[in-house]
């Protein structure tokens, strides 16, 4: 086995930044530039198993995912689908958490290419968790509001028909039935925080009589300046929907009966 030739094949097929380091008999660590979102590089090892050469992650990828995700969740739902389709697409085998690809016809470069692509796709499951978490917050917000306020008094994604025919300035939830309706905004990002501030200021500019409430998913992760600007404009805010459900309920109860 000519390891220098294999290294050259890796460099030409993938990147000049690929290096091979011997780590014992019939075992080589492959350094690649591909990383997880925390700066740790993928584990990629070329080694002999029985009579075949394989490229393997030695179970590091799933172990790394387990830092943020319950490993049992990798075996169900959307995550399981992504993993299974990725393994199939890139001809990767899984053996008790270890991902590996068998080298056939001395095709080292192409095998490494497929393997790394598969690892990148599987490691993206971490982002899938976060994207789903974002949409869950809005769902939770909606469910919470429906549980506290009679449905006939709620309008989600409200906009002012008189001033805003283009539906540009939307309020997440309007509660009517009071002399001044309550505009409620659900905030889970810097962008949403700034956008909500602009929407609220626009309604003020239009002299639309109302009260304003901001409910954060987690105010601690929002840019301080954005929060400061929102604070100057909004009448009331809660730093976390999940930690303040009782207080928000009380506030809504007191406000909507007036």
């Amino acid at each position: 086995m000519d390891i220098k030739k294999i290294e050259k094949d890796f460099k030409s097929k993938i990147s000049d930044k690929i290096n091979i380091t011997s780590e014992g008999k019939d075992r080589f660590r492959i350094s690649t530039p591909f990383v997880f979102n925390d700066g740790d590089h993928f584990v990629v090892v070329l080694k002999k198993r029985n009579e075949n050469w394989i490229i393997t992650d030695e179970a590091n990828t799933f172990m790394h995912l387990s830092y943020d995700i319950n490993v049992n969740d990798l075996e169900k739902g959307e995550r399981e689908k992504v993993i299974n389709s990725t393994l199939s697409m890139f001809n990767i085998n899984e053996r008790e958490g270890e991902l590996n690809i068998t080298i056939e016809n001395d095709d080292y470069g192409d095998s490494l290419y497929s393997f790394v692509q598969g690892l990148m796709k599987i490691s993206d499951i971490d982002y899938l968790s976060r994207e789903r978490a974002k949409s869950v917050f809005f769902e939770d917000f909606k469910v919470f509001m429906l549980g506290k306020v009679p449905q006939e008094r709620l309008t989600f994604n409200y906009y002012d028909e008189e001033h805003d025919k283009n539906k540009t300035y939307k309020v997440d939830c309007k509660i009517n039935g009071m002399p001044k309706p309550l505009f409620v905004f659900a905030i889970n990002s810097d962008e949403k925080c700034r956008e909500s501030t602009i929407v609220e200021m626009t309604f003020e500019k239009w002299n639309v009589k109302h009260k304003s409430l901001a409910i954060f998913e987690d105010q601690e992760i929002i840019n301080r300046r954005a929060v400061a600007m929102l604070t100057d404009v909004f009448e009331r805010q809660f730093s976390s929907l999940y930690a303040n459900k009782e207080k928000i309920s009380k506030f809504l109860e007191d406000t909507i009966i007036k």
Binding site: S31, D38, A59, S239
Partner: protein, 164 residues
């Protein structure tokens, strides 16, 4: 981009005394190619620390011991510190440096502000050479002690989380 905790707060959380019940690495459970253990320390104010231990069953030098913090107002884990083994390279994206060896990840304000994961910064560490010595280093750095059964800390409760 915003940041959740600045460097002073991170350091204070690391230095805060944490008490856990004694346990053995032999009790770790195995799934998907690695052994694991999780410990939650609930504080009197409702926030908690979370310790996650992982060790690869194929390569014992591939391990990770993580200290996370969950504030009472949040539902996300903030990774304060992570002791990694010697199985992969690490790259610090801001400093543009790459190395291979035992290394310790630490949360920083600057990485949060750049939009990276809070513990993306790491430094090489020669203070440990396996999981056991890494655990000693971790406990010393994160001020973790074993709770005496006779004098439990009223302000903390420890739980071992078993994933099924």
């Amino acid at each position: 981009m915003g940041f959740r905790y600045d460097d002073d707060k991170i350091e204070n959380l690391l230095k805060e005394k944490k008490l856990i019940q004694e346990f053995s690495f032999k009790d770790m459970r195995s799934k998907k190619g690695h052994m694991r253990k999780e410990i939650t320390i609930v504080k009197g104010d409702g926030s908690c620390f979370q310790i996650k231990i992982r060790q690869n069953t194929i390569n014992p030098l591939d391990f990770s011991i993580i200290l996370g913090y969950i504030s009472k107002d949040s539902n996300g884990v903030f990774r304060l510190m992570r002791c990694n083994g010697r199985a992969h390279e690490h790259s610090n994206k801001i400093e543009k440096e790459t190395f291979f060896g035992f290394h310790v990840h630490k949360a920083t304000k600057r990485y949060q502000e750049k939009g990276f994961k809070e513990d993306t910064y790491a430094i090489e560490c020669t203070d440990y050479a396996d999981l056991t010595s890494a655990w000693s280093y971790f406990c010393k750095t994160a001020n973790i002690g074993v709770q005496s059964e006779q004098a439990p800390d009223k302000n903390q409760m420890t739980f071992f989380n078993e994933e099924e």
